[in-house]
Symmetry: C2
Subunit: 536 residues, 2 copies
């Protein structure tokens, strides 16, 4: 996992060093599954004026109910490498070694292949967390394959020179990797079996596009929390503000949070802006928020950075707003409590008088600690990481975002944050300065088709939890009998893909049952079709 961590640290450094014009880009660019470590990495022990003690946190669920990954998963799998061409559409291109894991102990004749459509991280992360594959392996007689996305984990071409060869990092090449790998495995094993894909977040986007473009390779796909409707140029105008609207929903009474939470959080931003206008105010702000002494808050622009940092905590807690304590959003390094947004909100549940800005911010600081002090050992907050990572490492998710899947976002008045319109110019300039490439704002829709393509495909299950801020640009309605939207009430980012937990909601249990029915149907149809061919 070293490489991933390093990459994430670099992301953190970038974030910390960002200009305000870069904000929305970053939100989107790092907003998917790569994000968990992003801001966690910004927290380091240091001496500060306000200590945040573990005892400040509300009760967590008993440890037994944490989503502890079975520790022997990797031991059940073989790590393998496959020689892939870097450009499938140019026969003369160079090759690289793609990593994948095969976990074959549940397979039996008449079974299936469960294929994880790897996304933007070391594939071990998905191997260790995609409980839906593991828990159904026996029932389906499934061999499990976890394929790593090119340029991530151990599937990085060109070694240390990788950033000089970015042209091979694309979604189309990635999908072709998976098509070639599956074809190879079925041939190597001499198994004619159905293949069922699984992917979460960007992996769910890839999975649904995989089914769209290669229906002969993948028989059906479970796409968890895949925001495939987050692009310009679709037949229905894009709702750019849905992300923060849902983060706000998570902090609302309707989602189980304290009634005062949203109004209080909405007050923190003008409070910070007002304090930020004077040197004295900035010092008050710094102390109230428990920022470390070393954090420079010396201008209004610095205050904007602090606001962005604070807001990000809620973005990630909303994604990880699971019904039980989970380490997933924290990449296994630490644990968020059950329903972390509710926990964070509990610190700002009181009423604060109109002139008690410092009291409000001090309380808010504890809210932020749910995320930024998830390790429970921080005395104060640092905004930037001490950077010791290699200059050659890079944020490849950011490249994909810039080159192909640009997701415009805005913050609307209906959120609990400050309104910020979509700023294409800033996004464009950031991609130019970071990578020297031009955003193609319509490309994702030209290539993958948005809603119209969903009317032409089959066998994709889109699951979305209403606590997940990405669900606003996910598929929330059926497109046909086999392109189906499943709603996970009270679920956050692809909860249904996770290992079962005693605290799972009835909704996620029902969704998993429905998913299983579709998976059985896909497998059955495959074998019926095969029998039909044989009898011809």
């Amino acid at each position: 996992m070293d490489q991933e961590k390093t990459s994430m640290l670099l992301s953190a450094r970038r974030d910390a060093g960002s200009r305000s014009g870069r904000r929305h880009l970053l939100l989107a660019a790092v907003g998917l599954l790569l994000t968990p470590m992003l801001l966690l990495a910004t927290v380091f022990s240091c001496m500060g004026s306000v200590s945040i003690r573990p005892s400040d946190l509300v009760d967590q669920q008993p440890t037994l109910q944490v989503d502890v990954t079975p520790t022997d998963l990797l031991a059940q799998c073989d790590e393998k490498f496959f020689t892939q061409t870097l450009d499938h559409f140019d026969v003369g291109a160079p090759t690289y070694q793609q990593r994948y894991f095969v976990c074959d102990r549940h397979f039996r004749p008449g079974g299936v292949m469960f294929f994880y459509v790897g996304n933007e991280a070391d594939v071990e992360l998905y191997l260790n967390h995609t409980g839906l594959m593991w828990e159904n392996a026996d029932e389906f007689g499934a061999t499990l394959v976890f394929a790593e996305h090119r340029y991530f984990g151990k599937s990085v071409p060109f070694g240390k020179n990788v950033t000089k060869h970015m042209q091979y990092l694309s979604t189309e090449q990635t999908l072709a990797d998976y098509a070639v790998l599956i074809t190879h495995l079925k041939e190597e094993w001499q198994r004619e079996i159905p293949v069922i894909g699984f992917g979460g977040s960007y992996g769910g986007m890839l999975g649904s596009w995989f089914r769209m473009k290669y229906p002969h390779i993948i028989d059906g796909v479970i796409a968890g929390s895949a925001p495939i409707l987050s692009f310009l140029g679709d037949e229905v105008p894009l709702d750019k503000g849905s992300f923060e609207r849902i983060v706000t929903f998570d902090a609302s009474e309707e989602a189980g949070s304290a009634p005062n939470c949203v109004p209080n959080i909405r007050r923190t931003w003008p409070a910070m802006t007002t304090l930020g206008k004077t040197k004295e105010g900035r010092q008050q702000l710094k102390e109230a928020l428990s920022l470390c002494d070393s954090v420079a808050v010396e201008s209004e622009e610095d205050v904007e950075e602090v606001m962005e940092w604070a807001k990000s905590a809620f973005d990630y807690m909303a994604m990880g707003n699971y019904p039980y304590p989970s380490s997933y959003i924290m990449n296994g390094v630490s644990v968020l409590p059950a329903y972390p947004v509710r926990v964070a909100c509990s610190y700002v549940a009181d009423e604060f008088t109109e002139d008690d800005e410092v009291g409000l911010l001090s309380a808010f600081s504890k809210s932020l600690g749910v995320y930024y002090n998830s390790t429970l050992d921080q005395k104060c907050y640092e905004l930037s990481a001490s950077s010791n990572e290699s200059a050659l490492d890079s944020d490849f998710w950011d490249y994909i975002f810039c080159s192909e899947i640009y997701q415009p976002q805005s913050v609307e008045e209906d959120s609990m944050f400050w309104a910020a319109p979509w700023n294409y110019t800033a996004d464009y300039e950031n991609c130019q300065s970071e990578w020297g490439i031009e955003i193609r704002p319509l490309w994702a829709t030209t290539q993958y088709g948005g809603r119209k393509a969903l009317k032409a495909v089959s066998n994709i299950i889109f699951s979305n939890g209403n606590y997940d801020p990405w669900s606003g640009t996910g598929v929330l309605q059926n497109f046909s009998d086999s392109v189906v939207a499943l709603s996970v009430e009270g679920g956050a980012h692809h909860l249904d893909l996770m290992f079962s937990n005693k605290l799972d909601t009835p909704s996620v249990l029902a969704v998993r049952e429905t998913e299983k029915k579709h998976m059985h149907k896909w497998a059955r149809e495959y074998y019926e079709d095969k029998a039909g061919i044989a009898s011809e």
Copy 2:
């Protein structure tokens, strides 16, 4: 059309200089729509011992019934160029100018776009011959767009250095060109209209793949004579010998040819082989076949070249075995008579005694004249072109064949030719020596899916004539209500796409009517869907 001709001349030169091991590759590599001029170009006036006079040809149909293209088609269109990226999957790639024609006089609101999915030639060829688009333009209120395939016609990147940049010539990039172009045109014109694709031969393959990969861009496709099942790795083993089996069928009594034709033609090959063993025999052969004095027939290998040349005439006549005189297979330069295979067979309708090899070959020579003397002014046959074309020109179809869509072929005992097994090694070595690239024998099926993909798509009409040798690897059965196979009885290579002719068979008229019904259905469904979105 100059470039295309030059390219074809080069193909001819290559063919003439081919080794026997290269035969099957060439058959396949030049066997699609690029082929017509290939061997025509090998015929040049020269002094020979046997003259083939026009009067030797049987009666042709009256000129009025020839498939004369309306002369003003180009005048109804605007020639345009669009800046395309050469690598759609690498945002930083260079660009080129793609040519397309827009013929807009029939468009009306509520209408459609008819889009020709350009294949391996100057797009003017398709503009001038795709009568199905022109003749339905008014009824559908259609604007006509003819898009040129990259690297062909005037859509050639890198100018004279093009052969040094072959990596951008691929089917995937070509399909992306079309997706981007259509998106651009609809945006530029501010027209939300359905798009119906048309393509013949390789264009039909591209068209069906386009619908498969971009169903949100193209609403339905008429794919005429598209041999999309001609690849290895499909769920049903490939019948590699179908091409020559159907050529043989065209020469049979069942297809209207003289009963003695097939047995006589079958005898010509051993006759040539026997004569080829001696110097005297080779001279007899040369005279009997009306080869020019300048043609070197000095070894058994030379005789093999002559046999290949003779066989090719039937391959092309079978493709052009239309019910009326047509210049299409001859690329507009000359005219083949109605049912050219029947005409060719009429010259070998007699019985020849067992020892009258020379008489048989002399008669056969006249059969060959239907194709090689279609200009009616040849005195003898030359096998090779005098080459004056630029060394920079090249056969790009051959590259596509080698790089992506390798179609294995064999000649089986059931043909009227000599049996020749599939020779992968020879094909592989040819692609290596010509382009330095490796054939990927399974790539087309991995990328485009063969039969299994056809079960997952919709809105493709596959038409095939039973006289067309490519029909053996076309789609001959329905895969669903909207992936439909239409049989053109007595039709050759995509007859249904051509302009109407008094001599059209009842079958082709019926097929065109069925195609129209599907086209209307696709357009109707588009507008119904659009109305549904608007009312939501």
